[in-house]
Amino acid sequence: MSALIAIRGLRKAYVMGDETVHALAGVDLDFQQGEFVAILGPSGSGKSTLMHILGFMDTPTEGSIVFDGQEVAKIEPDLRAWYRSNRVGFVFQSFNLLPRLTVLENVALPMLYRENSDPVANEAAATIALERVGMSHRLDHRPNQLSGGERQRVAIARAIVGSPSIIFADEPTGNLDVKNIDRILDLLGSLIKEGITVVLVTHDLAVAEKAHRVISMRAGLVQEDRTR
């Protein structure tokens, strides 16, 4: 079975003033469908850069990315947007829900930017996604009326609403209390049963230990890749 994502020789360099920073210095990795992976590393290790590139928010300076059999390392911005709305979901540390929109509208947001977007179908999909995360009782609330744990569940619903192949969760528990941390991590872990690859990006070893595979990064390179 071929990997969902296969990356080879991935490099990313930034020019900051006179200095060139190598955020990624040659990374080779494979991600399988339905994997629960944690990318662990201190800040500056390149884990966020890797997530942004794999999440189609950024492009590599060098190297190859094969996503679902397609070479995607150097594609046009509009095609990257298409991948973001159709194949990828994001969960952020600070939730990033839009304050003016209701819970239901926030979750339906990714559907808005798809071709043939239809308001009724979008709402139906958002309702199902909110049921999946146990938030269907708060459809008409605004984000500021919810607790942190609830907001993150809504954010997860937004990430899964479009049935993506892969979800990137960037320090998803960084703003949560202990009780909610386990709940959110369990929820994310349960998504692999639906064939979704879940990638946790964290600097917290305890969080990373929840995943089935931990990739440790340092100075733009993969230091350790172990499966439990």
Partner: protein, 428 residues
């Protein structure tokens, strides 16, 4: 259709943003509101004033009128006074044959102020001999039910018929009497009333009835006087074949100068070179009219342009502020799949929503301004300009505001569209 599907949520979003920031939105709209209000109100009031001025020029015979009057011979020709025949019907024939620019020629023979007598009642008014061409040249008519005008046959037969100005009728016959068919005596001669000229003040066509203060004022002279066939006037009152003048109407006011020159040459040739006549036009009035109109248009354009420019800056300012506040939102939208063009459309639509709502409020304000201007003008001027709002001007005003909103929204929308999603998401 597809584009509309993308714009519709953007418009709804724009309305939501407006609602969330009511005060700020209203402030940002104020430029557009004032711009549209002043544009629509100014255009309306100036149109009203120009229209009123046109009526005034029309009352003077219009800009297409040329007047030929009898004149003393100049000094160098005084010794030829014996040869002068004055203006006659022969001039009318010559002009008709040679000056094709002239549509109508109205020969006029002034009898002077005469006493009109009817069974014990009498009044004094000006009596003038004319032909059927008087109506098109003077831009007058006889309303249906008020008899008829002097015909060619009346002129040919030197009929003793008379057409009265509407102001003369009540003085001679009192109210509620139909004078058509009645007989009037002038210098002992019996004239049959055949018609009444249209009443200018009451017609509602030339002067709007809202100008109540003008009644009995500057327009009154147009309703007095009495007209008889020119041949009757010459044969039975004046005693010779001379006319007091000619009124000429040309088809195209742009060709006024050509028509004047041709007319002058024709008369001069017929008069054996004697300058016993003068030609005058309303050209000076026309010139003033054009200058006034141009000045109004220029100042109008300036005021509207500046206020709409300021309105555009207001919208651009608030859009840039709004985008600065919503950088994270832009990042989130991009992260979940929005393209640059989606965000461009979203923010452009927001600018359009602000400008449309501002424009609509501006239209409401303009109605108030026009009402106030009308009130002031009617107090200040006896023939004050009365302006009415034209839906076409309102549509144009609204269109202007939308264009300004869209132009002002392009730069902020481009900025939103080109934001890097990663940077935007990191923004605090």
């Amino acid at each position: 259709m597809k584009l509309f599907d993308r714009i519709r949520p953007a418009i709804l979003n724009g309305l939501r943003e407006l609602q969330a920031n009511k005060i700020r939105s209203l402030l940002s709209m104020s430029g557009i509101i004032l711009g549209v209000a002043s544009l629509v109100a100014m255009v309306t009031v100036v149109q009203g004033m120009v229209g009123n001025f046109r009526q005034f020029v029309d009352a003077m015979g219009g800009i297409e009128k040329i007047t030929v009057t009898r004149e003393q011979l100049p000094k160098e020709q005084e010794h030829l006074a014996e040869l002068s025949e004055g203006i006659t019907m022969r001039d009318v024939e010559r002009i008709r044959k040679t000056v094709s620019l002239v549509d109508n020629i109205s020969p006029e023979a002034r009898v002077g102020s005469e006493r009109l007598i009817v069974e014990g009642r009498e009044t004094s008014t000006y009596v003038t001999g004319v032909t059927a061409d008087y109506l098109p040249v003077a831009k007058r008519w006889v309303d249906p039910g008020f008899g008829r005008f002097i015909s060619d046959l009346d002129v040919l037969n030197m009929n003793d018929v008379i057409v009265l100005g509407s102001a003369v009728v009540p003085e001679l016959f009192g109210a509620n009497v139909d004078p058509v068919g009645k007989v009037i005596k002038i210098r002992g001669r019996r004239f049959t009333v055949i018609g009444i000229l249209n009443n200018i003040e009451g017609s509602g066509m030339q002067i709007r009835s809202a100008n109540s203060r003008s009644s009995g004022g500057s327009w009154r002279w147009r309703n007095s006087g009495a007209l008889i066939p020119v041949s009757t006037a010459q044969a039975k009152f004046i005693g010779n074949d001379r006319l007091s003048g000619l009124g000429l109407r040309i088809g195209d006011a742009e060709l006024l100068r050509d028509a004047v020159e041709q007319t002058e040459r024709t008369i001069l040739a017929g008069h054996k070179g004697l300058r016993d006549f003068a030609i005058t036009t309303n050209e000076q009035v026309l010139e003033d009219f054009r200058k006034t109109e141009a000045a109004f248009k220029l100042s109008l354009g300036g005021v509207a342009g500046i206020s709409l420019f300021v309105g555009g800056i207001g919208i651009m300012n608030v859009m840039l502020a709004s985008i600065n506040e919503r950088i994270r939102e832009i990042g989130v939208r991009k992260a979940v799949g929005a393209r640059g063009s989606d965000l461009f459309l979203q923010f452009l639509s927001e600018a359009a929503v602000i400008s449309v709502i501002g424009g609509l409020i501006g239209l409401v304000v303009s109605m108030g301004i026009v009402a106030l201007m009308n009130y002031i003008l009617m107090q200040a001027l006896p023939t004050g300009a009365v302006a009415t709002l034209d839906w076409l001007i309102m549509v144009q005003g609204l269109a202007f505001s939308v264009v300004v909103g869209l132009v002002a929204g392009v730069y902020p929308a481009l900025r939103a569209a080109s934001l890097d999603p990663i940077e935007a998401l990191r923004h605090e």
